[in-house]
Structures are given as C-alpha cells and as structure tokens.
C-alpha cells in the first residue's frame, strides 16, 4: 500500500533528522581521525565528539558580565536554522523530506540566518576575539556566498528549477551524462565553498586555540556549557547539510526515486558514503596544506566564483 503524502513527509523527515543528528559528530570524528593519522598521530576515538557534546551539555553555564539575551538565545536560533535547513535537502531520496517547503535559496537563507545570529552573539560579550572572529567570518562568507549561489544556479538552470529535489531528480535521470564541463566546474566551485563555509584549511583551522588565528572558534570563545554544545553541534551539522546539498546538486546518483524501504535504505547508505568522502577530502586538505593568510582568501574564493561563472558561461553561451 502507498502511504499518504503527509505520512511519507513525516516519516522521511523523522528519518533524515535522526540520521543527520546521529551522523554529524561521527563525520567530524572521521575527519579528525584521518587528519591525525596523516599527521602520524593516533588521534581521538570516533566517539570523542559525542563525549565532548555530552560533557558540555552537562556543564554549569558561564556568561560574560557584558553579555545579555543575545548571547544566551543565539545558540538555539543557530541550531534551529540549520536543523530546518537539514530537512529541505534530499539525502536518501531524490526528493527533499519536506517536499515543496523550500528550495536551495531557502537553505542558503537559513544558513545566512544562522551566521547572522552567531556573528551578532559574538559581539555581545564585548571582547576582542569575538569581534575578530565575527568580523572575519562575515567577511569570508561574503566572499563565499556568490560562489555558493552561482554554483547551485548552474545546477538549477540545467534542471530548470531551483528546487533541490527537482535538481537531484534531474541529475539522476541524466545519469552519467550529467557530468559535463559546466557541471564539473560548478561542482569544483561548490567544493571550494564547502571548505570556506565549514572552516577547514586553508581558510580556517578547526582545531586551533590560538586566539589570533581563530575565525569560527573565535565566535565561540565566550560560549560555554549547553550553548557551546549547541554551537559546536550546529557547526558539525552544517557540514553534513552542506555535504548533502553537494551530493544532491552535483552527484545525486543513487538517490531513491520512489518511496519504498529498499531504495531508501540504499540511497541512505550511498548518501552517507558520499558525505564520508567529502569529509576525507577536507581531512586531506587540513593535513596537507597550511592555513592561508586571510588576505589571500579573496583569490581562493574569487576562484570559486570564477569557476561557477565559467560553468554558467559554458551552459548559457555555448549550449
């Protein structure tokens, strides 16, 4: 029997929610592990991120004398926005769990919301490092945003819709023929953007605790207890969602096109696999190249936009 649309939506959403929430710390763990191994360290176990989150969640909250409600209620908003975005991205299936709720622009918009609130909260404590991190973060994402949108726009124009579900369905239908030059250029652009958005080398160092080099960590410096847990988890989840968007827009192969346990399970596995691959790529970067000076970032991120534009050019001008 075919379940009704509403039920399907609820089931898929619940499934995706659970999978993402559980998988997010794990993905981070794999990245750390690989990085450690590449640096010939043993590195923490795969469960370490879970332990950290649990530890912070249990801790007594500290707040700065200067900070107020913004700092306190920013973390829920950040996580809430990213969770909402998480449900608008196809993962196991070619359709997004919340069918017809929002397209890629909504996902981007929700990320922007998260960034806005986080950057704002970083200014609440009135410290130098919060401002530094916040200032650098918004600047870098300002450079990354055009690349992000333009890359997705390439995929969207090919599919004829900005809805991620339609895009990935289109990709699946195209099969291997999808991987034309325009498509690959856009994919490359998006890959660069992921690096910038998730704060890995050469843009940012996720593990640093030297204040002057911090970008994302700098914004979290005043966070503690459950706030810290929420924010860290949010950033882990963001990586997962971005990876999902990446695979849905550019490598959607294997996503289930009909709603049935078998294909969904398969699609789920494939999807997680793709995410792990993305993660390994990031780990490789972290281990292999050094963090770049912030002033060199425009070249890197400009490159992303240029690749995306080139892709669009090929797509529009020489069809």
């Amino acid at each position: 029997m075919i379940p009704s649309a509403a039920v399907t939506t609820v089931l898929l959403a619940a499934l995706q929610l659970i999978v993402f929430v559980l998988f997010a710390p794990f993905l981070t763990a794999t990245i750390r592990l690989t990085k450690a191994r590449l640096q010939s360290r043993r590195g923490p176990g795969l469960l370490q991120p879970y332990r950290d989150l649990a530890k912070w969640w249990g801790k007594l909250p500290l707040e700065s004398n200067a900070s107020g409600p913004v700092a306190r209620y920013a973390p829920p908003v950040v996580l809430g926005a990213i969770l909402t975005a998480a449900l608008l991205v196809p993962e196991a299936t070619s359709r997004a769990p919340l069918l017809g709720w929002g397209d890629l622009l909504v996902v981007v918009g929700l990320f922007a919301t998260a960034r806005f609130v986080l950057a704002l909260s970083a200014l609440d404590a009135g410290g130098a490092f919060g401002g530094m991190g916040s200032s650098r973060d918004v600047a870098i994402s300002a450079l990354a945003e055009p690349g992000l949108v333009l890359a997705l726009a390439g995929a969207a124009l090919a599919a004829g819709s900005s809805d991620l579900g339609i895009i990935s369905a289109f990709g699946i239908k195209q099969g291997i023929g999808l991987l034309g030059p325009a498509h690959l250029l856009a994919a490359a652009a998006f890959a660069i953007v992921i690096v910038a958005e998730t704060g890995h080398h050469p843009v940012d160092n996720p593990d640093t605790h030297l204040e002057l080099t911090m970008i994302h960590e700098g914004m979290l410096i005043e966070a503690s207890g459950r706030s810290l847990a929420t924010l860290v988890f949010a950033s882990e989840l963001k990586l997962v969602v971005l990876a999902a968007v990446f695979s849905a827009a550019f490598f959607p192969f294997g996503g289930a096109t009909e709603i049935a346990p078998g294909p969904i399970a398969l699609g789920l596995l494939l999807g997680l696999g793709k995410m792990l691959i993305v993660g390994q790529g990031l780990a490789l970067l972290d281990a292999s190249i050094a963090k770049a000076r912030i002033m060199t970032l425009p070249d890197l991120l400009g490159l992303a936009s240029l690749l995306a534009i080139a892709g669009l050019g090929i797509q529009v001008l020489l069809p």
Binding site: G100, G102, R115, A156, P298
Partner: protein, 675 residues
C-alpha cells in the same frame, strides 16, 4: 470622482479613504499653525497615512480604480488622478512607512512651525504623485514633493553642510525633472498633444523607435535619479542623514520609491515595455547600485549615512527585479515577467517597512545619545531593549533572512533572474548577464548580513564606548510603538509572503496588461520553466524554525537559568575595557581590504608617545574610502563647469567698443543668413 468597476462597498470605500486621507493631511498642516491644536498635527498625519494605507490595500485587493480631477490652471487640470492597483502597492509602502514615522513623533514638536506644516504636505504630495494621471498633475505633485522634502531637510536654521546637501539634492532633482519633462513632452507630442497617461498608452504602439528610445532613456534617467540608483545617487547619502529621522524614514521608505513607481508606471504600464538594451541597462544599474551601495554602507560609521547607502542597495535590488521583468516581457515570457515585477513591487513595500523601522531606530539612538558615530556607541541594548529588539528585527529583515519579509522578496527576485537566465527566447548574452546578476545579488545579501551585524552589534551590544552611550535611556513610547508595529509587519509580511505576493502578482499582471490575473497558490511559488515549480512555503518554514528554536531554547535554558555564573569576558587575563572591542571601522576592515580595488581607501595612523619613551600614549586611526563616482566624475565636472563659467564671463569685458562689435557682428551674420 469615479470608481471603476463601481462594485458596491468598494465604490463607497475608495473615495472616502482618499478624501479622508487628503483632508487629514491638509488639516495636519493647518493645525501646525494653530496655537493650541499644534500637538494634533502628528496624530492627524498618522491618521492620514493610515487611511492612505487602507486605500492602497483596498485598491490592491479589489482591483478597482479611483479616478477624478479638479482645479484647472490654464487648460491643464491641477489635480487629475487615477489610482489603480499599482498606485495601491506604493500607497501601501508609503502608508506603512509614513504612518509609523508620523506616529513616532507624536508628542514632540518639529524644529519650527513651517516644518511642522511642511511635513504633512510632503506626505500629501506623495499621495498625489502616486495617483496623478496626467503629465501636468504628475509633475506638479512631483515638484511639490521635491520642494517640500528639500525644505524639510534644510529647515529654517541649517548648518553650512546641510545647505550644501540640500542644494545638491535640489540641483539633481531639478535636472532629473527636466529629463522627465522632456520625456513626457515626446510622449505628449506623439499622442497628438494629449497630456494624460491613458491616451499615451493608446498611442504608445505608434511610437517610432527613435522617439521611443529617447523618451524611455530620459524617463529612466529622471526617475533613477529620484530613486537614488547609481550613478545618480550622489544626493541621497548626503540628504538623508541630515534630515530629521522621521523625515529620513519617509524619504527613504516612500519618497525614493516614487522613482520606482514612475519607472513602472511609465515604462511598464504606459509605454508597455522597453527594448532589451534598456532592460539590461536597468538590470546593470540595479546590480551596481546593490553591490556598491552595500559596500559603501559597510564603510560608513555614521549610522544614518550607513542606512542611506542601504537605501541605494535596496533600490538596486528592486531595479534588478524590474530589469529582469522588462527583459522577460520583451520576449513574451509574461508569466515570469509578472513574477519578476511582483518581486520588485514586493521588495518596494518591504524596504519601506524595514528601512523606516531602521531609521526610526537610528533616530531613537541619536535622540538617546546625541551621537551619530557608531564608534562612540555600544552597549545600548541594556538601556534600550525595545529599540534593540525592533532594530534587530529590521536588520535581519533587510539582510534577507528567512522567515522575514526581506527574504521573501529577494527570493522572488532570484526566481525572476533564474527565469531570465533560463528562458530560451532571450539572447544568450542577456541570459548570461542575468546569470551574473544572480551572483551580484548573492554577494549583496551576504554583504548586507555583514553590514547589519556590524550596525546592530556595535550599537547595541558589548560595552558602551562613551559616557553618552552609557547614559542612554529608552526612547519615547510612541516611537517604541511605531517601531514595534513595523517589526511585527516585517514578520507578518514574511510569513504571509504567499498571499501577499499573489495579490501583488495580480497587480503586476494588470500593469503588464496581461488580462485577468492568475488563480494564485498559497505559497510564494514560481515557474522558472513552466513544467517545474520552485516553492518557498514561508509560513510552514517559519513555524518549523520557530518550533525548532523553541525546543532547543527550552532544552538548554529551562532549568539552567538559575545556575548561570557570571565572569569577565576573556581578554587574555586583563580586565576588559571598552577599547578592546572591535569598532565599526575595524569590523569592516577585512572587507575593506578584500575590496580594496574598488574602495580606494586612504588611511592615516598617528601615534603619540609618552614623552621620552617609546610607549605610545595614544594612537588614532582614520580611514576614508573614495566614493568613485563622486570623486572621479562629479567633483571634476563641477570644478570644470565653474572654470568654464569663469572663462565665459570674459564675454562681458566692460569695453563698450567690444559690445558694439558684438552687435555689428551679429547683425552682419543675420543679414548674411537672411539674404
């Protein structure tokens, strides 16, 4: 006055609303001079604006139109109006912004009675502009609007800077009006000397390509200047900051929109579309205004100047929507064209709401601290929580964050661009341009986020940087109410994006003369290509987001509240000082460096040392960016013209013999010409 179609209750409501609004505003002007009734003036202005808002809503909802005329001067009718849905849209934008602005000054007195009286008249002039149906009545209202706004800026006792800002504004608006007048004149000439828009529309198909292009170009220059689009924007960032805040709110929220209204009314409605080159030009102007506007805004540390540059940015976004709409319509993609125009109209309303909100917030800050400079503010959130909350909502909305209204209209704008880039009928290069515009718009929104994190954070968060900032106190109750209403409107328009955009879409279709509007769906939805659908279900997303936030917030704070421990902010172990904080300037520095090619910045660092030591006692840092158009084009042109004038004045050399020679020469030339 006649209402068409005269359908029962609407036929009654429209004239009543219109008359009531106009009467209320005129009364507001009159009572300003009455000794005891003076406090009533803002209240009456509020009422008038609210009525205009109601009028606009009814016009949009009913699709009816209200027309009439009165007062003839020579053969020309002074007040000839025809309000339709399009007017309604901008009446709504006007009403929202001016009602709030007027409400915010209830209980206060303007700088002088003439200004007190000029303010409602200024509002009335906008109402007339939005309805004028003949070239003459339009220009009459248009010029009155320019004059009154100029007077409101300059006031009775201005400083030198204010006077020069006003002069620049008057100069540009006059030249712009000359362009509009010339454009109108062409249209009038080509329609047998008729002066009313309706007959122009009838005669429009007969326009020759040359006169059509010239007229459209002139009109675009004129209206773009009023709208403050680059490169005609120079007056805006000078005029808006020096005006009183409620006036800035209306100017930014409603007055510059009349430029957009003029474009839509003339180019879309009357002339019925424009050639590709112009559509692309408008698109290009839009992108440039958006990107450069927000970049310049980022570099400002005067809060009102910052907001003024954001007006340029948002006008740019609106123009992007309009440009893509015109491009699409020129190639028969009427559905998408209507969609893109909807985006422009929707964003016009939204910008009116959040920009007025932000200006009122800025006004509250200035009133509380007497400071314009962000670098002297800080920590105001503790003292003025309501203002911070409202301002924050406005900031989020203007940054285009879901689920607020700014995102909805920008989403539609994006869809319009997707449509333009994806419509096969359009020339590849034009489509590529549209695709690039997508990137420009993305960059704009991202930079807007950066800018408003800066504006909000540096103003309201952290530690107060000056005594004035630390002694601030919450603003007046009416102002708080006004701002809260606007903030709620931001959220409401955001969540109700579906129905709102459907209604606006009907208006857009009528403006394009596409016949009866579509049946509309209860979500913002677009058809980038007819087969597929992209949807943003604003309400559902908003609720989901709220639920998620609520759950997490409760989970993390429900029981923790009591056990919070407070400590100093970590500043490497030193006791934190306000000076440690990032200032507005330093916050924007990375972006200034990233875009140093465009923002040619000059910085000066001067260090003073303790006598005899090498320990710095004070370090001051100043950095100014170069406003390219102003510095590289406008000022040189101005200097050149002055020099030219000086040369020309040699003609009047003082020697009578020279003068006789002029006459003889002229006569001989005339004779030679006449033989």
């Amino acid at each position: 006055m006649t209402v068409t179609p005269d359908s029962g209750v609407v036929g009654v409501l429209l004239p009543i609303f219109w008359l009531a609004a106009v009467v209320a505003l005129l009364l507001a002007a009159a009572v300003a001079f009455a000794p005891r009734l003076r406090p009533l003036s803002p209240i009456l202005s509020t009422a008038g604006s609210a009525l205009a808002l109601a009028l606009g809503c009814v016009l949009i909802a009913s699709g009816a139109s209200l027309s009439g005329s009165a007062f003839h001067v020579l053969a020309l009718s002074t007040v000839a109006f025809h309000y339709d849905g399009l007017s309604g849209v901008f009446l709504v934008a006007f009403g929202l912004s001016s009602a709030a602005a007027s409400l915010s000054i209830v209980g206060e007195q303007a700088r002088s009675r003439p200004e007190e009286a000029a303010y409602p008249l200024f509002l009335a002039s906008i109402v007339f502009v939005l309805g004028a149906s003949t070239a003459f009545s339009f220009l009459l209202a248009w010029e009155s609007m320019a004059l009154l706004s100029a007077f409101l800026i300059v006031g009775l006792r201005p400083t030198r800077a204010v006077v020069s800002a006003t002069n620049l504004y008057l100069a540009m608006t006059q030249v712009a009006t000359a362009a509009i007048l010339a454009g109108f004149a062409i249209l009038a000439a080509r329609s047998g000397g008729q002066l009313d828009f309706a007959s122009w529309h009838i005669a429009a198909p007969g326009l020759g390509p040359i006169s059509r292009n010239i007229a459209l170009a002139l009109l675009c220059i004129g209206f773009a200047t009023k709208a403050g689009a680059m490169p005609f924007h120079v007056w805006l960032p000078r005029a808006h900051p020096v005006a009183p805040s409620h006036v800035s709110a209306v100017m930014s929220g409603a007055m510059i929109k009349t430029g957009i209204y003029g474009l839509v009314r003339l180019v879309v409605d009357v002339v019925g579309g424009c050639p590709d080159w112009l559509a692309l030009t408008i698109l290009g102007i839009g992108v440039v205004s958006a990107v450069m506007g927000v970049l310049y805004a980022l570099m400002q540390h005067d809060i009102k100047r910052l907001l003024a540059f954001h007006s340029i940015e948002n006008i740019g976004i609106i123009l992007i929507g309009l440009g893509s709409a015109l491009l699409l319509q020129a190639h028969g993609a009427t559905e998408l064209a209507a969609l893109a125009l909807t985006a422009a109209l929707f964003h016009s309303i939204n910008h009116a709401v959040f920009k007025s909100l932000l200006f009122l917030g800025a006004g509250a800050v200035v009133r509380a601290t007497g400071l314009h400079d962000l670098n002297h503010l800080g920590g105001l959130g503790r003292k003025m929580p309501a203002t911070m909350l409202a301002f924050g909502v406005g900031a989020a909305a203007i940054s285009g964050l879901p689920p607020l209204n700014g995102f909805a209209s920008e989403w539609l704008t994006f869809q319009g661009l997707f449509g333009a880039a994806g419509t096969a009928g359009i020339e590849p290069l034009a489509r590529f341009a549209a695709a690039l515009a997508i990137g420009g718009l993305a960059l704009t929104t991202a930079l807007a986020v950066a800018c408003f994190v800066k504006a909000t954070g540096v103003t309201f968060l952290g530690l107060p940087r000056t005594a004035a900032a630390s002694n601030a106190s919450e603003t007046t109750r009416p102002a708080v109410v006004a701002m809260s209403l606007l903030a709620v409107t931001c959220l409401g328009l955001g969540l109700a994006a579906g129905p709102v955009s459907s209604a606006l879409r009907a208006v857009a279709r009528v403006a394009f003369h596409d016949g009866p509007p579509l049946v509309t769906v209860a979500a913002v939805s677009a058809e980038p290509q007819s087969s597929n659908v992209a949807i943003y279900a604003a309400l559902s997303v908003g609720l989901l987001l709220a639920a998620a936030i609520g759950i997490i917030a409760i989970a993390s704070w429900a029981r923790a509240r009591a056990r919070v421990r407070r400590v100093d902010t970590w500043t490497c172990g030193i006791a934190p000082k306000p000076a440690f904080q990032y200032t507005a300037t330093s916050y924007a520095k990375p972006i200034r460096l990233f875009f140093r090619r465009i923002l040619v910045a000059e910085r000066e660092v001067s260090v003073e040392y303790h006598p005899g030591t090498s320990f710095p006692s004070s370090v001051r840092y100043r950095s100014e960016i170069t406003l390219l158009f102003e510095e590289r084009v406008l000022k040189p042109a101005h200097r050149l013209s002055l020099r030219a004038a000086n040369v020309a004045r040699k003609l009047q050399g003082g020697a009578i013999q020279l003068y006789i020679a002029y006459m003889v020469l002229a006569v001989l030339v005339l004779l030679w010409w006449a033989r």
